[in-house]
């Protein structure tokens, strides 16, 4: 594994590392807020890419890991007083457990049936959490403001949360790259291309798929905990937003699925567009229509996404644009 020497690796990792580092060094609140959303999207899109881009299983309900893991982490944090980084990891672990349990049942489905099932899982999770008293039921959970004092007050806490998110995103990208260039990843790609043939060739498809599914679930759980802690509260509606789940999918497709760079650029571009349109009174609703238009163009004409298209046109860049 000589990934140190591969320019593709460094490009992806440095993009996220340097970008985040600049924000931290500059110390500006507005920039941090924007960067937070960008990093969050990158982490979510990259993790989705593992099951969708590499293994070819389109998860329409990816946000459920964000929601369930985040809720659990936030619960530990706000109700039981756990420290943030521990709660975060616990949240990620819960998501993994959910992925393993649910995956066992659902990964047996192929194609569109799998996609539908993932939608159902997300909705069931949301409805369940809305009725689950320890998680606050329909009115959700909140953290008493004094919880921020453990981190030096709210202002400081927001920066710590950002730094943690930055590290999590880097980890997601690194892991994504390592998976892609490992034997495991090769197996996933074989599953994507032709699952039956892959199994004939000795790829243990059911177990590999489940591993990929579980891996893809870990990071959203971490991100969810951080996001809810930053906002100070969580309600079922916020945690399981189907629209966000679909937007993550768009980001992956936009940048190029199956590539590590794809979700990064896709998430960045999508967020910038969204952020701009957020406050413009005329265009704020157009963002959805525009994203839809872009998605349609990609699906019809550039199925490989932006990075995929560049790789097609400039074969020499393929070693760099992974």
């Amino acid at each position: 594994m000589s990934f140190w020497r591969q320019p593709g690796f460094w490009l992806n990792v440095l993009l996220v590392t340097v970008g985040g580092a600049m924000v931290i060094l500059l110390g500006q609140d507005t920039l941090r807020e924007t960067a937070f959303t960008v990093l969050m999207f990158i982490a979510l899109a990259s993790s989705l890419n593992i099951i969708m881009g590499f293994a070819g299983y389109v998860n329409f309900g990816h946000i459920v890991f964000f929601g369930l893991g985040g809720y659990f982490g936030f619960f530990l944090l706000s109700q039981l007083g756990w420290p943030l980084y521990l709660a975060m990891i616990a949240g990620g672990c819960l998501s993994v457990v959910v992925a393993l349990v649910v995956g066992a049942a659902v990964l047996r489905l192929r194609g569109a049936y799998f996609a539908l099932a993932t939608i159902g899982i997300n909705e069931a999770a949301r409805a369940f959490v809305a009725n689950f008293p320890p998680f606050g039921g329909a009115t959700g959970l909140y953290v008493d403001f004094s919880a921020y004092d453990k981190y030096g007050g709210a202002g400081q806490a927001l920066w710590w949360i950002f730094i943690l998110l930055w590290l999590v995103t880097i980890a997601t990208v690194v892991l994504s790259y390592l998976v892609k260039h490992s034997r495991f990843g090769l197996g996933l790609i074989a599953i994507r291309e032709d699952e039956d043939a892959a199994m004939v060739m000795g790829v243990k498809a059911p177990w590999d798929k489940t591993k990929a599914f579980a891996l893809s679930a870990f990071f959203p759980g971490l991100v969810g905990t951080l996001y809810f802690f930053k906002n100070g509260n969580v309600e079922p509606e916020d945690a399981f937003r189907f629209q966000l789940s679909l937007e993550i999918l768009v980001m992956v497709m936009l940048g190029g699925k199956g590539l590590v760079l794809g979700p990064i650029l896709g998430a960045f571009a999508y967020e910038r567009l969204r952020g701009y349109l957020l406050i413009s009174p005329i265009f704020k609703n157009l963002h959805l229509a525009l994203s839809g238009g872009v998605l349609l163009l990609i699906v019809l004409f550039v199925p490989g996404g932006a990075v995929g298209w560049v790789r097609d046109r400039f074969p020499r860049l393929r070693r760099v644009l992974e």
Binding site: V58, V106, A115, I119, G120, A124, N131, N285, L300
Partner: protein, 285 residues
């Protein structure tokens, strides 16, 4: 207790008919071209708005307005098919799924801008029928009746007309149908139009008794998925039964537990049926 149960079951079944029509559109499109139409909900919402404007601004009776909705939706479906699906219909489920999803985003985006998300209401009342302690809403009764009529019409169309038979041929085996001289692309476009039409009509019927926004379609779309899985994707009649089952469930379950548990039951059942019997309770293609 008995009154409560019967009132709930009847309410649920009446709505179930409308759910069935909505799901039928989805089921038809899946059956014919293996596409899951993620713009289904948005089309339903458009149907609702159509009826709303026809009724509020032009003063047309909602049920008559439905006739116009039928025509408009057929054309709309045709356009969507040619614009988004035609190129990728052979490319696999991911691309068709994303294409219809893109259309959904575009419709919702433009719809939100034009209509905003403030709730609308079609203030149309047909009074009610008093069956002692059970009150039946006129609008809901008529919607259920319309649903039955539409189902019958759909079956007559599919089994007794040339285009209908062509649709069934293409859904059986597209290549063979082409060999027999059936212009399959046109047939696919027609089927998509039909599916869209069913969705819009279901939306229009719903608007007569519930308030709505451009986003209301998504709840019904989710229910349509559940229904199609219950009844079997590709089986329009199965969709109607699935709708009745779902409506009945929504009526009965709340009696025994808080209403907020209904979605858990619905989606739990959905995932269960998918995993255990993906071809649905009535079997699919």
């Amino acid at each position: 207790m008995f009154t409560q149960i019967s009132a709930s079951v009847i309410d649920g079944l009446l709505i179930g008919f409308v759910y069935g029509i909505a799901a039928m559109g989805l089921s038809l499109i899946w059956g014919v071209m293996r596409v899951i139409n993620l713009a289904h909900g948005a089309t339903m919402a458009l149907g609702m708005f159509c009826i709303y404007y026809l009724f509020t601004d032009v003063g047309v009776n909602p049920y008559l307005g439905l006739l116009l909705v039928v025509v408009l939706a057929l054309i709309f479906g045709f356009i969507i098919y040619m614009a988004s699906l035609h190129r990728v219909i052979q490319a696999g489920y991911l691309y068709t799924l994303l294409a219809t999803f893109a259309v959904n985003m575009i419709v919702i985006g433009i719809g939100t801008m034009v209509f905003s998300t403030s709730p609308r209401n079609v203030d149309f009342s047909l009074g009610s029928i008093d069956l002692g302690p059970i009150i039946l809403q006129g609008t809901r009764l008529l919607a259920a009746g319309a649903s039955v009529v539409i189902t019958a019409a759909l079956y007559l169309f599919l089994y007794f007309t040339r285009p209908g038979k062509a649709i069934r041929a293409v859904s059986d085996n597209r290549a063979a149908a082409e060999l027999m001289g059936i212009p399959s692309s046109q047939v696919l476009a027609l089927s998509f139009g039909l599916g869209t039409m069913l969705a819009a009509v279901a939306g229009g019927l719903t608007s007569t008794f519930f308030p709505f926004t451009i986003l209301s379609g998504s709840t019904y779309q989710l229910k349509s998925f559940v229904i199609c899985v219950l009844g079997g994707l590709g089986h329009p009649l199965g969709a109607l039964f699935g709708g009745l089952i779902l409506g009945g469930l929504e009526g009965i379950v709340p009696i025994f537990m808080p209403v907020s548990w209904v979605p858990v039951v619905e989606f739990g059942l959905f995932v269960l049926v998918l995993v255990v019997r993906p071809t649905g309770l009535m079997g699919a293609k």
